[in-house]
Subunit: 248 residues, 2 copies
Amino acid sequence: MSSSAGIIIIGDEILSGRTKDTNINWIANELNEIGIKLKEARVIEDDKMIIINTVLEFSKKFTYVFTSGGIGPTHDDITTESIAAAFKVDLEKNKIAMNLLKKHYEKSNIDFNEARQKMAIIPKGASLIDNPVSVAPGFNIKNVFVFAGVPKIMQSMFHSISSNLKGGIIIKSKTITCDVGEGKIASDLGQIEKQFLNMKIGSYPYFNPQSFGTSIVIRSEKIGDIDLALEKIIKIIKQFGGKYEIIT
Amino acid sequence: MSSSAGIIIIGDEILSGRTKDTNINWIANELNEIGIKLKEARVIEDDKMIIINTVLEFSKKFTYVFTSGGIGPTHDDITTESIAAAFKVDLEKNKIAMNLLKKHYEKSNIDFNEARQKMAIIPKGASLIDNPVSVAPGFNIKNVFVFAGVPKIMQSMFHSISSNLKGGIIIKSKTITCDVGEGKIASDLGQIEKQFLNMKIGSYPYFNPQSFGTSIVIRSEKIGDIDLALEKIIKIIKQFGGKYEIIT
């Protein structure tokens, strides 16, 4: 039996037409590549009971459920508390998430206030999903993967978990960040990607008040190819005088 | 009571990622303008039982239901027969539709074969929806409006029926941007929102290498309330020493 999936897009801003959803199509293509069949996608309101019911229905029907939206710092971000309620699990300030965010805001000289600490509140027992773009993590509980709504962040989160999904093909990945702008290295990354069979190199620019740079995710079935590509990418970063860090 | 709506996008090609849906966003904007609240949108498979169940569920839940996709001439176009089955109504070759299509194909010197005649098969008692783009009509049965999937055709069909839809309230909005981070003003925005009935204040952070800040959208039926909330928000921005710009 092959794996199935459902997508839940949570957001009044999509239903009002103000924001155009691009996450359904993006995830659909990714799932298709790794051999997981997307069976349904729903756009629903920022409403606790609707989120709870939809998540429970999808969790039962499909192998994997992906949600996007509603995990930011504001009062209308209610995805996390709704999903905790769906699975009857308590919320807690996650220590790892708190540390990540604290460090991030200290570096940027931004006050790590109560609203921002909200992004470290995670259902007990859930595992964190890396966010190489803006730090605040997503999380995975049971078969549900909870992503941010901003496309670049959602994409980086998806790639940080996609190697764990059991589809047809198993895709492995490594992530490296550097302080070189995406535009400078984009064409070199494209060149490197072409040198390998079925390799995908994704790049995700990040910005914060103090610095900017690029997170790079290398994906392939072959870990050996990934390591070779990683070496080539590090060479490019050094050519531009950049610093880098291998994340995973 | 204001009117509500649901959208059902029928199409394996959307779920496989091959085709990018644009109909949800387009209909969402149109509905917003005429004051009908879009409550949910679903992308579902070309599967008879799933179409039947979704149409019946939506028909009960919402004032208006719009479907797109699956009314063409090919074997996998099963929307019409599924909707007839949902409402336990027979199918018939609709005379008006047959005449329209016959004339159209005669003019174009294209054989009006059995496959093309399929597009004239409509549930008994349904009313036709004009298709000024490619003639083959959509139809309306109970509170369900059945459109083609091709965006231009769907749009022309929507416009040919939209003046018959009873909207409720027109939601107005104003947008202001400022150079204060979302996390700083998040809790104040929540406080302001609570001071008005049926007001929604959304906040959307933006980042770029030179600057960062927040766009704030205030939505309400009452333009007076929006202006009052706007004043309060400007006060908050000034408290943080921020600059602002009223966009719309």
